[in-house]
């Protein structure tokens, strides 16, 4: 037993050695080539010096953006009008499929539910905490605890919550927290949570809310701290207190930040893939657009349909990002 452990540890060590060497080599090549180019381009004089400088500084980024984003994006749009292995043009058939197939309609409805409910709940919770936490003794600890899930991967968060939702037959001791709480509260036969439609979709949204509330809290707290003193003073002199102060002064003053937080979480939600993939693999009617896109492309190997779903995702994100950018610029102009 101990012998085999040593052997495996040896294997791990050599595995580590090989991979570490690979990384070191890659970094050395990358930084070496860069240093060489810097050295050579620094020697250049006269008319070519300036264009050369610009090329050296900007070239790599532009090249990466072209190869990694622009060309593939255009190509995906093109592939979305082709059949599964991209050998035959099919016009808009893939899009017709996406909007008429009952299965996909479910996916679209779920996605819509996700982008409306999860971001709104997250933002409202984040705002509430940002408003309430401030006078608390030891507030840094509470903030840290609420903020912490943001550092955890969606895969890790999903496993955490899958364990919370674990359901056993009610006659046996429960190991999932949610079932235990439900039974303790007098619900004698709680369902198998992840199999209950449509409850399961909302239970998956909980994970999104759990990870992003801290983000909303931190950004909104900073915005509240930035409200000019005289405005609040004036409102107080006029007798605004409590709820009135909140709805007439605080919220209007941080409106653009609220919109930025909301749209940022919406965009993130629209692209969410990891949670659904880990929790249910899209089964039990929980599938969403980003996961369906992955399944179609890399499980079913239907490049046409996968591409069409990616394009739909892009078109859905587009207005949100546009609005987000406009608000971000406005907010920056105010500051």
């Amino acid at each position: 037993m101990s012998g085999s452990t040593v052997l495996l540890a040896d294997g791990t060590l050599s595995d580590f050695g090989t991979k570490f060497w690979e990384v070191l080599q890659a970094l050395a090549i990358f930084l070496g080539v860069l240093a060489l180019i810097f050295f050579a381009a620094g020697r250049a004089v006269g008319r070519i010096s300036r264009p050369l400088t610009i090329t050296v500084f900007l070239g790599p980024a532009i090249l990466l953006i072209m190869i990694g984003l622009i060309v593939p994006a255009i190509r995906t749009i093109y592939l979305s009008t082709k059949n599964s292995d991209s050998t035959k043009g099919v016009g808009f058939d893939n899009y017709t499929w996406a909007f008429t197939n009952g299965d996909i309609q479910r996916v679209l409805i779920n996605t819509l539910l996700w982008i409306v409910i999860a971001p709104v709940v997250t933002t409202v919770l984040g705002l509430a905490v940002a408003l309430m936490v401030d006078r608390l003794k030891g507030q840094a600890i509470y903030k840290s605890l609420i903020f912490m899930p943001m550092a955890i991967s969606f895969v890790g968060a999903s496993i955490i919550w899958k364990f919370v939702y674990e359901a056993r037959d009610p006659s046996q001791p429960q190991i999932g927290l949610l079932s235990q709480v439900a039974i303790a509260l007098g619900w004698s036969h709680p369902p198998n949570w992840l199999l209950s439609i449509p409850l399961n979709t909302f239970l998956l949204m909980v994970i999104m809310v759990w990870t992003q509330t801290g983000f909303a809290m931190v950004v909104l707290a900073a915005a509240i701290r930035g409200i000019p003193a005289d405005i609040v003073e004036a409102a107080r002199v006029d007798g605004a207190r409590g709820r009135k102060l909140l709805f007439k002064v605080t919220i209007p003053m941080i409106r653009s930040t609220l919109v930025v937080v909301l749209t940022t979480i919406m965009i993130m939600t629209l692209k969410i893939f990891d949670i659904v993939r880990t929790m249910t693999n899209g089964n039990f009617k929980t599938d969403v657009l980003a996961n369906k896109m992955y399944s179609q492309s890399f499980v079913e190997f239907n490049n046409g349909r996968g591409s069409a779903l990616a394009v739909i995702l892009f078109l859905a994100v587009l207005p949100l990002v546009g609005y987000n950018i406009v608000q971000l610029r406005r907010e920056r102009a105010i500051r």
Binding site: S153, A222, Y294, V317
Partner: protein, 321 residues
């Protein structure tokens, strides 16, 4: 909100000026009920992670038969789950534990952070200080590319890595065999990071004091020298903020890793392996919880030790939309 703006709000005089206003807002929402709600929420927020952590230290039999909360009345803890999960586990169709995947995640994340950091800071410097015709338009175009969800690039990129071709153009010989190495994952993370990285670093680098730059140029330094000796040191806080975010982003990523590294133990990151495990042995919670905690612990350490940079980066807009 640029990094600079956030710095400004942190400065003392500004803070002082806002103090009464902030207090007024605070006062109207602080009550025993509010305090209670916040404490309740932070407890509820922490319990799921705590349950995972506790479970990962309980023996197999206990985990399968009783809830983790019974540990308070019947404490019985062990490290054997971690031993199994890291070094021995022959579970879920694999032959090794998670250790190779932990190494993969590190091997992916370190270059996956350094590559985009270097390339983007160079581009940001050029766009901010080596002004040329169209540099503003170019900056805006790069910034606008944030609208492209990475899903839109996956299929053609996968084809590129395996064949060397994109849309019929041969970019590199097929014999280069990128598939199966870390390169597709490194390159993809670098490419996808570009728009946001250039945008954030440009915001900071363009705010550097003009006099310092000009003084260096008068002394005869060329752009390469200015970049190395002045820009990089001065931009260190922004670089650090971005590096932390990129590190967490790459470490926590599933989509890029799954698409370009598959599930092989030679290259696949921890997240991709955990996804497989959660499907194939969803009921062996003593192992799954230990495995999940192994992947969570690195970002948690980064988060708790560098929380200030983390928050600063967040306020500067380092959230991938």
């Amino acid at each position: 909100m640029s990094v600079g703006a956030v710095e400004a709000t942190k400065a003392q005089p500004v803070k002082k000026r806002h103090e009464p206003a902030v207090k007024a807002i605070r006062r109207s929402f602080s009550s025993p009920i509010a305090s209670f709600l916040v404490i309740l929420l932070s407890v509820v927020w922490t319990i799921p992670t705590f349950g995972l952590l506790v479970t990962s230290f309980r023996p197999e039999g206990d985990v399968a038969s009783t809830g983790w909360w019974t540990v308070f009345t019947d404490p019985d803890l062990t490290l054997s789950n971690y031993q199994t999960v890291l070094f021995e586990a022959t579970f879920g169709g694999g032959t090794t534990g998670l250790m190779p995947y932990v190494i993969n995640s590190l091997a992916i994340t370190i270059p996956g952070t350094i590559f985009p950091l270097v390339v983007a800071s160079m581009a940001a410097y050029a766009l901010a200080w080596v002004r040329f015709k169209g540099s503003d338009v170019l900056f805006f175009l790069i910034f606008a590319l944030q609208v492209v969800p990475l899903q839109l690039a996956l299929i053609p990129l996968l084809q590129l890595y395996s064949s060397g071709k994109i849309g019929g153009v041969q970019l590199f010989p097929e014999s280069l065999q990128l598939t199966g190495s870390y390169w597709p994952v490194w390159l993809s993370h670098t490419m996808f990071a570009m728009p946001l990285a250039i945008f954030l670093l440009h915001n900071f680098i363009s705010q550097l004091p003009r006099e310092v730059m000009e003084a260096a140029t008068v002394d005869g330094a060329d752009h390469f020298r200015v970049f190395r000796t002045i820009v990089l040191p001065l931009a260190a806080p922004a670089l650090a903020s971005f590096a932390i975010f990129q590190f967490l982003w790459v470490w926590n990523d599933l989509l890029v890793g799954l698409t370009f590294a598959g599930g092989s133990q030679d290259v696949a990151p921890l997240t991709a392996r955990l996804l497989q495990l959660s499907g194939s042995f969803g009921s062996r919670w003593h192992l799954l919880t230990a495995g999940a905690f192994v992947s969570i612990v690195v970002p948690l350490i980064v988060f708790f030790s560098l929380q200030r940079y983390f928050v600063r980066g967040l306020l500067a807009g380092s959230v991938k939309g």
